[in-house]
């Protein structure tokens, strides 16, 4: 385990290395997909990312708890074993910004990602896989958000 001082010293070097290497995904994406994050539902978000109409599929998995003790941090994951996946998306149906995350995957990583999202209320959560052949597949899970604490 290196010390953080070393890590910080290295970070500048790493950053410049990435810049000179011409960081491919960054260059390819150009910029943050604002319209997708402003979409009010899953279909619109997928459309804004250039995808077709999503179809429910058992080949995409969404993981998360049935009940979250607090909506501020809800652990969720998306995965698929299908070959040729380009992007994995996580969406929370009842959030003001429905799209939570877009993961642009390469062959060097598994199509299996986890993060934590905020949920304002109980809601459906979607995992979407955008495939290389143009197909868009999704699965859905309802996560309940409970009221916690004394509320004072």
């Amino acid at each position: 385990m290196q010390t953080r001082r070393e890590m910080m010293a290295r970070s500048a070097a790493v950053a410049s290395l990435l810049a000179t290497a011409g960081f491919l995904p960054m260059a390819a994406r150009a910029e943050w997909p604002k319209s997708a994050f402003e979409a009010k539902n899953m279909a619109d978000a997928v459309k804004a990312l250039g995808g077709s109409a999503p179809v429910e599929s058992k080949d995409v998995t969404i993981t998360g708890p049935d009940i979250a003790e607090n909506g501020a941090v809800v652990p969720v994951g998306c995965a698929t074993a299908l070959p040729g996946v380009k992007r994995l998306l996580l969406l929370v149906e009842k959030n003001p910004s429905v799209l939570a995350a877009v993961f642009n995957v390469t062959d060097a990583v598994e199509a299996n990602l986890s993060t934590r999202v905020k949920m304002g209320q109980s809601s459906n959560v979607f995992a979407v896989a955008m495939m290389g052949d143009g197909k868009v597949l999704y699965s859905v899970k309802e996560i309940k958000v409970t009221l916690g604490g004394c509320g004072g």
Binding site: M1, S11, A108
Partner: protein
Amino acid sequence: MADPMRIRAQAAGDKTTVRVLMSHEMETGLRKDSAGKVIPAWFIQEVTATHNGKPVLSADWGPSISKNPFMQFVVKGAKPGDKIAVTWVDNKGDKRTDEATVS
């Protein structure tokens, strides 16, 4: 300058599980302070990861990602001693890169 990330990269067989914790407010832009003024949006928009300098993953995030974000992914073929680096960039243009050695 933003606080450092915590990156743990652990190899098991030919797969390396990477867990990243980032120090960030992830403010949605929808909350109000005690005086009723809207707190401006401030969140990480882009996350990228490299394995020995080679890009393996990038992500676009919205304000729905939790404060002090966590992300887990699995890199194929990474071995102990390899370097995993993660970079984030937020909507104000702040960025931070940290690196960990696969154990």
